[in-house]
Symmetry: D2
Subunit: 160 residues, 4 copies
């Protein structure tokens, strides 16, 4: 997807949004949040949705999500002690896999700082393999609630 | 200080208090926030005070705080995806050093989860040594605002 | 690039290789190294090359590398307390930008665990913008030493 | 214990010693390893001993170590991309608790950079409480192998 299209992302594009106060050690020696930390926040927001809305209990659930791919485009910087806001939506929902789009904003600023994606394959804890019947119905239903379908760039993107 | 006294700590004992949403990777394999993460949060709250209230600008300030000691007593656990609240007060303010007491709470719960302390010695960026005239007046004044003096256990602690 | 091609990556494909002992908190609640930690290790190996071979001194160099994109494919897991080995090669070297391919192995095992890529744009510290004349010659020369050109899948990949 | 005594610590004081390559994000904005990261490394070395020598299997062992106290004195700095070496010894071995002394060195340098301590109480996974009969015999035997008894400052410390 073009960077111009990514730059048009807004908070309202993400049905699930959480605030994360940045930490001292998030900044690296260049005085802005290190690029690897974005992934920690994306992972945290996605797993929070899984725990709080989808019935996943990490130490015991019979199925869990294994990350098989992640990517991020960094559009602008953010720095401690700012407060980050991380948005999540589902863009593809398969039998046992799910593709999320995630984005990072900064409290008090409109422009999106980074947009990423990652893919979970749900596997059975006992075997480490995808379940024959796919992910659990309760999980699928909850993911479907933030499933917006394949994301097309909004109209105004073409003017950028 | 006795653990019984530490357990009586309340949010109102700390004049500076910040919320930190826990992150997925804060939990370790025992499904609670790893003990080392507490230090990251304490460090983050203290440095936030230094940046937002004391005029410290990490990439350029002529003086900065060097940690020379830290300690923590862990009283109860907290786990992702809970929201932590970290309190800070100054218990000793020297010419170029400051001793903080820090505490961690969980949103929605009264009991304190951990109480720690750490000591910063302010040094000159150019030499790495404490400044001859001690810390900058602006810094000292701002630290003095949350300086409560040596902390004595509250009365009710003796009943524990 | 196809996953089958990525799975054929070997240590010898990477001219710069460093060992990183995993840490207790690298594992998440599923008892393997969290996917976000891979990015920390990739970032660490790339920056180590920049510091040790390319003359970059993070607190003072007039130019520094800003990450604008990263991605990772996770092929197999690794878990604390294993020792990771991270390889780096350059696959594209522009005027002020560089594309790295990075891979993670585990000491004692042949198969690659993850393959990723990321892109640095070198900017001037004073302006935050790419330098008019591109990256410094010393930097470019050192990056050119591990520049293998666009990476094509090895022949045997087609048999997978 | 006096700082003068701590400064006399040498690698040979620690029967268990592991190397940890520092990571890019270990450094904070002051260009040296952040003080909170020491705790991650201490925790990693101690747990490595528990996993590799004491039969602890974090996701399933019936007993596990809960940190109840930690402290660190920072004597000198270390910075990415240096390689750290972390030493562990046991200084007190109770029925269900163990006190470790930990120290951090830098590859290529004799002087100790930091000395810390922390206390684990072993609890039953099923109840979260210390086991009636104390820690498992296999665990206690393995910890006893690096139990040096209460540590007294070496003679030469008095000359410092």
């Amino acid at each position: 997807m073009s960077l111009a299209a990514l730059k048009t992302r807004r908070r309202q594009d993400y049905p699930y949004l959480l605030e994360y106060r940045t930490r001292w050690n998030d900044n690296d020696m260049y005085d802005h949040m290190n690029n690897s930390v974005y992934n920690f926040l994306f992972d945290s927001a996605v797993n929070s949705y899984l725990v709080e809305r989808c019935g996943i209990h990490p130490p015991s659930s019979p199925q869990y999500g294994l990350a098989v791919h992640s990517h991020t485009d960094f559009l602008a910087s953010i720095a401690y002690p700012a407060v980050a806001e991380v948005g999540v939506r589902v863009t593809k929902l398969g039998k046992s896999s799910v593709t999320y789009e995630v984005a990072l904003f900064e409290r008090g600023s409109d422009e999106v700082k980074a947009v990423g994606g990652f893919v979970h394959v749900f596997v059975e804890r006992s075997t480490g393999r995808p379940p024959k019947d796919g992910m659990e119905p309760r999980l699928k239903e909850a993911l479907d609630k933030i499933h917006l379908g394949p994301v097309t760039p909004p109209k105004e993107a073409s003017k950028l």
